[in-house]
């Protein structure tokens, strides 16, 4: 297990690595990544797990020229080159799922299997209704109810965090806003590119996810040739955190299969 800093396109990016075997690039969501996250163990036991912190998240730098998820997608294709990974499995959660979808549409041949967990990135519904609720226009308690199956258990209490942890959390929020503000949570071009994806793709959704509805995830999956969907019980927007065992039991067989 190690965390290193790799310079990509002139940007210092923090990259966590654990385990060995076939590579698995893991792209975190809006809340960022911590090595203590419960999915690390089951996946690092079976794979060479590579988890970059996106520019502006964790301790990764954020230059002025980055303001869209596809900027990061290009950087991560370079990351694969730098790590000598010709072809990889990829898991992307939420915002990370959006970046993963961008990468898969750009360079389909680089991916062996794709798992998109409640991914943002496309607009499928009518123009006068948001596909994904505006989390910045709601009180935090309401957002927690949309994000978690069990907010009482899962919601973060800032009082329990160190100043350093809080600083990272606040910076992650800020970068999320930068990347997703307009168009809200999507790239209008992406849905016209997803037909290029070649790898077997699994969409995963927590049954209580209040951000990405079942209709949204289903419509998104239809844009990717041959994609399947799976649902995790008793989980919200982040099943990999809320139900890590059930999540691993769903995703690992797909990757192995």
């Amino acid at each position: 297990m190690k965390t290193s800093v790799i310079k990509l396109a002139g940007v210092d990016v923090e990259v966590f690595e654990a385990g060995s075997g076939n590579p698995l690039l893991w792209l975190h969501g809006a809340n960022g990544f911590a090595p203590a996250h419960p999915f690390v163990k089951p996946f690092a036991e079976r794979r060479r797990l590579v988890v970059p912190s996106h520019p502006g998240f964790g301790k990764s730098d954020l230059p002025l020229w980055i303001d869209r998820p596809d900027d990061i997608a290009v950087m991560y294709l370079e990351l694969l080159d730098r790590l000598g990974i010709a072809k990889t499995e990829i898991v992307g959660c939420s915002l990370g799922g959006w970046i993963a979808a961008e990468m898969a549409s750009m360079a389909p041949e680089r991916f062996a299997k794709i798992v998109l967990v409640a991914p943002a990135g496309v607009k499928v519904g009518p123009g006068d209704k948001l596909d994904i609720p505006d989390i910045w226009a709601l009180p935090q308690e309401e957002v927690n109810k949309l994000v978690f199956h069990d907010p009482a258990k899962m919601a973060v209490d800032p009082a329990n965090l160190s100043d350093e942890q809080l600083t990272i959390m606040l910076r992650n929020r800020e970068t999320t806003a930068l990347l997703t503000w307009e168009p809200w949570m999507h790239n209008p071009k992406l849905k016209h590119r997803l037909h290029r994806v070649k790898a077997p793709t699994l969409f995963v959704r927590g049954v209580s996810d209040g951000l990405m509805s079942a209709a949204y995830v289903d419509a998104y999956a239809k844009l990717v040739p041959g994609a399947r969907t799976a649902t995790i019980a008793a989980a919200g927007h982040a099943p990999q955190l809320e139900q890590p065992a059930a999540f691993a039991a769903t995703v690992l067989p797909f990757l192995d299969g």
């Binding site: 910045w136 935090q140 100043d163 606040l170 929020r173 806003a177 930068l178 503000w181 307009e182």
Partner: protein, 405 residues
Amino acid sequence: MRAWHFSENAYPYLPPADTYSSIRVTLPNKVYDPAKGADLYHRYIDEWLIAEEAGLDIMLNEHHQTATCVDPAAPLMLAILARASTKARLLILGNPISNRRQPVRIAEEMAMVDVISKGRLEAGFVRGVPYEILPANSNPVRMNERHWEALDLIVKAWTTQDGPFSWEGNFFHHRSVNIWPRPWQQPHPPIWVSTTSPSGAFAVGERGYVQATFLTGFEGTRQVFDGYRRGWQKAGRKGPVPIDRLAYAALVYAAPTQKEAYAGAEKLLWYVTANKVPPHIANPPGYVPVAANLAMMRGAEHPLSGFKKNASVEAAIESGLMFAGTPDQVAAQFKKVYDYVGGFGHLLIMGQAGFLEHEDTVLGIKTFAREVYPRLKEAYPDSTPSYTPKAADGTGKFAGAYSGP
């Protein structure tokens, strides 16, 4: 010392505050009665003109999707005032250039007003309060960067007279900018920028524009002005900051007796107390720096939020947010703040709010203009002007009025 009459054009006829969660952004506009609104517009315009007649200058601002300020297109109101007024300087404070996407259009609007008013425009630019983010769908991250790039583009549009130039910045792109008209005041109208943070003021000081701060009281105002002074010196300027570079906006109400004055001042407090906004609208991500958000999560409170919980005329005067009372009292309260913050050359008078009716508003304006203003002008004379634009026609006359065909 210059004094400016400022009115937010509020629409105060609202249901009880406990029936809505926010006076801004989400309060449905069915609450707004256009018939009442029309009367209010005409009344507020009249009050600006009464202030002008009394010898004050005119200031207006812009907010969006809110009952607190129903002037979502301040350049429109400015255009009306440019024609209806004859001698007052016209300060728009300001154009929200982090939220408006066409700086060149703003340069055009301001140039038009400058020409129509024959050189009476004072062009202010604001970053905009956090509640403006949602109405503008504006990204709250990198607002400062957008602000300065937009302002640089506007100044270039005003000052380029030899045909089109191009602009390829981080946020704005133009292949051909060549505005008509160009401003009356040359090279450009005086520029103001408002900010209520010392770091923001530092950036304004570096550029030497007029710095305005709103309701920041004794401590906050001193910190903002100190930030400006540091920026001013950092840019290599010699000597102290001329006071005509600094402006303070306070709630001001003068009347012949303390009783009348406090009754009027009490109504002015609406400006602060009616501003009910939930935290997620008041603090979008990226609007304030991470360190400031961290301090808030650890319990730090905005000074105005603290004040709001126990708002009173006395507390407002005590904090330096308000000058209210008889002319003697107002002059004495003013002196205390003026001395504490190191002086300023402009008093922006928030002289109308909420249910302060027309007659009372006029009483406040006239009492201030007649009984207080002359004393302030005598006690705090203007510095040598630090920026003196020339009239485009070479006459040096700015305050001309349209005199008919």
